[in-house]
Symmetry: C2
DNA sequence: CGTACATAGTTCAACTTTCAAGAACGAGTC
DNA sequence: GACTCGTTCTTGAAAGTTGAACTATGTACG
C-alpha cells in the first residue's frame, strides 16, 4: 500500500461503492474508453496521428506565433516531458512541427507549428469536431452539458498536480 | 475525409463548438486524462499492473467459476482480442491468470483467475476503491452522481459498436 | 568565484498497444 | 466429403508510452 496508508478504517473496513456508484463508475469507464478509442481511430484514419498528437498541434496553433516552450506544451496536454519529446520527434518527421532554440534560456526549446502542420489541422478539424459533436454534444441536453462541465471541473480540480504547496499536501 | 463525408454543410461550413461546449470539452479531456493517469500510477505502484489489466482480473473474479472466454472478456473490457492476448500472456507470466481449453469449441480459450490472482485483487482492491472514491465520489453531490451516470450512459450508447444491423447503419 | 541544487529537455530500456497476417476450427451448402 | 465463409485466438513488427538516468544550463548563496 502507498505511503499514505490505504485509506481504510480498520474498524469498518474499506468503504466499498454503493450500487449506484458502481453503476456510474462502470458507465464512466465504458463511455470514456469508447470515446477515446473512437477519436483515436478517427484521427488516425483522417489525419494520420493519435488524438494526443492532434491536441498538440491544436495547442500550438492557438499559441502566440504558433510556438510554445516544450514544458508549457507538456503541461497543457497533461503529459510528461518525456512523452512530449517522443511525440514532437515524430511530428517533426512529418514536417508538421519544428524545434527552435530559446534565445533567453539555452536549455530551452520551442516547438512550433509549421505551415504544413497548420494545413493538416485545417483539413482535418471539421471531421474531428463532427466526431466530437456526434459522440457528445448532439446527444446531451443543454442542462446536461452544463452539468457535465461542472462535474468535470470538480474532478479535474481534485486531480490537478496541485498548485502551491504541492509537496506538502497534508498541511492543506 | 471518411466514407460518410465530413458531416459539414457546404453552405454553412462545419458547426464549430460554442464557447460553453469548448469549455466542457476541455474540462472533459483534462479530467479524464488526469484520472486515468492517476489510477494507472496508483495501480502500477500498488499492484504492479496498469488499470486495464486490473479490470481484467476484476471481471474474472466476478464471473462464474472465475473464468471467461477470451472474447467475452475482451468485450467486457472493450478491447480487441489481440490486445487481450498480449495482456493475458503477461498476467499468465505473473501467475495471476491461467488459460484453459474450451471443451465444446476447440478454437476457444478460457482465461481464469488463479488463487494468486484473487489474492492480489484482495490486497489491492481497497486502495483502488479509495483512489476512485477520492477522485470522483467524494467530490460529487448525490445529484451530480446521478447526472453523471445518466450522461455517461447516453454517451456510451452512441458509441457502442452497435447492436443488430451494425453494418447497415444507414437503415436505422 | 565556487559549490550546491533546481530546471529543461533528451535518451535508453522495458513495457504496452496497434495493425495486419495467419493458423485452426465451426457451420452451411452442395 | 469438399467448398466456402465466418469465428476464435495468436503472432510479429511497428508505433507509442513509461520511469529512471543523464546532459546541459540556470540560480542562489556563501
Amino acid at each position: 500500500m502507498g505511503p499514505m496508508g490505504d485509506m481504510t478504517d480498520p474498524a469498518t473496513g474499506p468503504r466499498w461503492l454503493t450500487d449506484e456508484e458502481q453503476g456510474t463508475w462502470r458507465a464512466y469507464l465504458h463511455a470514456t474508453t469508447l470515446l477515446e478509442d473512437h477519436l483515436d481511430r478517427q484521427l488516425q484514419r483522417d489525419a494520420g496521428m493519435p488524438h494526443i498528437y492532434y491536441g498538440l498541434l491544436v495547442q500550438l496553433s492557438q499559441a502566440p506565433r504558433r510556438r510554445l516552450r516544450m514544458t508549457e506544451l507538456a503541461k497543457g496536454a497533461k503529459i510528461t516531458r518525456s512523452r512530449l519529446s517522443h511525440a514532437v520527434a515524430r511530428l517533426e518527421k512529418n514536417g508538421w512541427v519544428r524545434r527552435e532554440n530559446c534565445p533567453s534560456d539555452k536549455r530551452g526549446q520551442f516547438a512550433l507549428l509549421t505551415d504544413e502542420g497548420l494545413e493538416v489541422l485545417r483539413r482535418t478539424a471539421p471531421g474531428h469536431v463532427a466526431a466530437v459533436r456526434q459522440a457528445m454534444f448532439d446527444r446531451l441536453s443543454p442542462g446536461q452539458l452544463t452539468q457535465l462541465g461542472e462535474i468535470m471541473r470538480v474532478m479535474a480540480e481534485g486531480l490537478e498536480p496541485a498548485g502551491p504547496d504541492a509537496d506538502l499536501p497534508w498541511l492543506r
